[in-house]
């Protein structure tokens, strides 16, 4: 299977403001591969390095050493993001734009022709159930509606790779179900989904493979069954064991 996303000995260091520590290591030599068509879960406790990894993949942060690529293109090239969709954890968009205008703006950046953009916008607004509010400014939207706008903008270019940062965070059960449905649909269409989440129940349900990262280091990567079964536990217990939480409880 083709490798869609690749991180090769990725290391990210931040200069610490405290005098005693010279640098803070956010990622320590991360090696990661995501293949085409799979749903990949990226797990870890808070501060593990998940968001830093995503920031590197999206070109927000330069790695100190190592490299990352999307579809074989270095992530530092803007063209690497031509075929991806990104949904950040906190979804805020231009309050003075309507949902339709926002999607049209992003469609222009992706270089979609006017007609194609119109069709995509209609389809996506129906998918996220914002058809009735397409002409209203986003500042009048509820939180749930803003999340759905976020999902729509992530899908505007019909991406081959979808990067989701905690997509169900703050959603009610109905919203979470809809997100799961969309992820499943994308998988059925042969798209690749790379997402981080704290909802291990969901991860167990939808993911083909997962990786667990802790303190900047990759602890384990593989299929959910491969990680869970040897430990004779569910994913949550396996997760806690892998990050060393059980060892802390039972020294």
């Amino acid at each position: 299977m083709a490798t869609i996303l690749k991180a090769d000995k990725l290391r990210v260091e931040y200069r610490s403001r405290e005098m005693r520590q010279a640098t803070k290591v956010a990622l320590a030599g991360l090696d990661l591969e995501v293949h085409a068509g799979e749903v990949f879960g990226f797990l870890g406790p808070n501060g593990a390095g998940k968001t830093t990894t995503m920031n590197v993949l999206l070109g927000f942060v330069q790695p100190t050493t190592g490299a990352a690529s999307l579809f074989g293109i270095d992530v530092r090239q803007p063209i690497a993001r031509q075929r991806i969709g990104y949904l950040p954890e906190l979804t805020y968009y231009y309050k003075f734009l309507t949902a339709e205008e926002l999607l049209r703006f992003y469609a222009k950046i992706f270089g979609l022709a006017r007609g194609e953009a119109d069709k995509r916008i209609d389809t996506l607004l129906k998918l996220v159930e914002l058809e009735h509010a397409r002409k209203r400014p986003i500042k009048s939207y509820s939180k749930g509606m803003q999340q759905r706008v976020g999902l729509a903008q992530a899908l505007i270019n019909n991406p081959d790779l979808l990067i989701l940062d905690e997509p169900t965070s703050g959603l009610d059960p109905l919203g979470r179900m809809k997100v799961r449905e969309i992820i499943q649909r994308l998988k059925n269409e042969g798209k690749t989904v790379f997402f981080s989440s704290h909802e291990l129940g969901e991860v167990e349900t939808v993911c083909d493979r997962i990786a667990i990262i802790h303190q900047g280091e990759l602890k384990v990567i593989g299929r959910v069954d491969e990680i869970r079964k040897p430990r004779h536990a569910n994913l949550e217990q396996a997760f806690l064991e892998i990050i060393g939480f059980q060892a802390q409880l039972n020294p």
Binding site: L58, F60, L87, Y93, F105, K108, I109, Q153, I163
Partner: protein, 258 residues
Amino acid sequence: MKNIFAVAGVVIKELYRRKDFYVLFIVTIVLCLVMASVNIFNDDKIVRYLKEICLLLVWLSSLVIAITTTARQIPAERENRTLLPLLAKPLSRTQLILGKFFGCWFACGLTLLCFYVFFAALAASREHQLPVLDYVQAATLHWFMLGIVVAIALLGSLVFAAPSSNSTICFVVVGGIMLVGRHLDQVALTLNEPMRGITQVIYFIIPHLEIFDVRDLIIHNWPLIHWNFFGLALVYALVYTTVFLTGACLVFRRKPVN
């Protein structure tokens, strides 16, 4: 280029959906009409004071719009977290900066168009003449000057933490250049070294924005500026705009976005 103009389009939409421009435009109109209604020795042909007041208000309003609109672009994107989904698109940081610049600059151009049309109508109602070319020259020079100001404010928004501090510094710098920029070399002669040398260097380095302020020529009906010098002034503006924009792009490349 499409990316740049897409970003610029959003900036322009923001300007006409905010109230800043409308408030300043209406204030300008009201003040000018009040001034125009004043009876000065029963003479209704007196017009230059009105032109001066109107142009002063136009200049102040345009600077307020240019600086405040530009100063909040990047900080607002950061604060509202709209920067992340934007840069997650196939849009380079340079394109984003250029898009913001062109958006702010074109937005300033549209506001200037409205202001100068009002000014022309007001002047023509008294003078019964419409020197279109003179006004076109003045408006174009004004617009290009605002291009330099927008570029300065954009660079400032990446260097200074808060939009308010950036705006204040920009107003002070622009105001200072407009008022004393032309005379800095004379001021330098009155100082001792090393301040004399520093002042002279500043004199040659700063963009001389006062060159673009041709209000006196418009108010007092002086002939057109020679087109060669007009063109050179535009080139001068483009050079400085490019310098500041290049600085902004270089600074933004190194800045973390989150």
